[in-house]
């Protein structure tokens, strides 16, 4: 399938397509989100090298989990960032960057050069807009998106914490993510 056609698919469809045998679909998914994942990791670790390494492990884990992804559940972005958070947490706990998923997939260690780190910085800078935009969301949406996507809290817990219904939290997460996507499109 032509990549430009794949590019028209939603994130959810790309993940389904990957699990159904289209490696190019995962390439498109990767291209679409690598900058955001790098921005998140660089922000958390302060290191382009660690960000690149963690991003590699995150996408490898996402690839392995594609078959379990179910459209209609959490948005694919949330799903991916959830994996990223898990990898960050595991790596922090072990005090070394996880390599389990890459090893399982047979992806060899990749070497970083100065140019690589510069490109990672550049991509992360570009995607940092998303994290800036997150702070600019209306408070209810910002707290809901942050709580659900970044902190991975349950809807029920968020509803208690934010003193509103679960339904409203879901609505705010959905609207917040949509607003982020639109904001990023405008920024580009």
């Amino acid at each position: 399938m032509a990549v430009e056609r794949l590019d028209r698919l939603s994130d959810e469809d790309l993940l389904v397509a990957t699990a159904e045998g289209s490696p190019d679909a995962f390439g498109v998914f990767y291209e679409r989100h690598i900058a955001l994942v790098l921005a998140l990791f660089r922000q958390r670790t302060g290191s382009a090298e660690l960000a690149g390494d963690l991003a590699g492990e995150t996408f490898a884990a996402a690839l392995l989990s594609c078959r379990r992804f179910r459209p209609g559940g959490p948005p694919a972005t949330s799903w991916l960032l959830g994996i990223a958070q898990n990898k960050l947490r595991e790596s922090a706990r072990r005090h070394r960057v996880e390599t389990t998923a890459r090893e399982r997939l047979g992806i060899p260690p990749l070497e970083f050069r100065d140019e690589d780190l510069e490109r990672i910085e550049q991509l992360a800078d570009e995607a940092s807009d998303a994290l800036v935009l997150l702070d600019q969301l209306p408070p209810a949406q910002r707290d809901a998106v942050r709580g659900r996507v970044i902190d991975e809290r349950e809807y029920r817990e968020l509803a208690q914490r934010l003193s509103c219904s679960e339904q409203l939290v879901r609505q705010n997460v959905s609207r917040g993510l949509r607003r982020l996507r639109n904001g990023l499109k405008e920024a580009q």
Partner: protein
Amino acid sequence: MTDYIDDLRDALRDAAAREYSAARASRRWRARLSGADRPFTWGRPAAFAGIALLAAVAVVTAVLWLGATATTQPAYALVQHPDGSVTVTVHNLRTALTPLNARLAALGIKERMIPISDDCPRSNLAFVYTVKRSQFPQLRWTFTRRQSQKYPHGVWGYVGLGRSDSGQLLLAQGGMKPPLPPCFSSTLGQMATPTP
């Protein structure tokens, strides 16, 4: 010339082809699209270098302990290994961190243990998360000199520890350089000017 980002994409694509090769026969998603398929080739070939970035980093078992502290137990334990690495175990969150940081500084370890509170942001600079105590029966880390040297200039490794308002363990770990979130600022001096 390829770079890390492109190499990683190519490696993932190759891995996807291997991992999901059996599923290729049934591409139900094609029905959602129209038009003929044609093969897509990635612009640049994968080129892998064989040096593991973190191979030299010591494997650390972070088994953490926040359990009950016996009155006779020291606030922390620090074990030096022949290779220069140290293993620290925190027994008492309230009293361990200050003397432990002094020991780490004296040993030339560019890592600091810092107290964190529930006020610390869960995003942006601070990498703070809540974990269940059952997941961390022991608070133990091993730090190596080589690991410390990996941090860029001005960046310090840190392990943040604290309890949330609801009594859960708060854990933060990573590299950081000023400006720090306000909840870390009280420890900025410790991080920037380690006690010799």
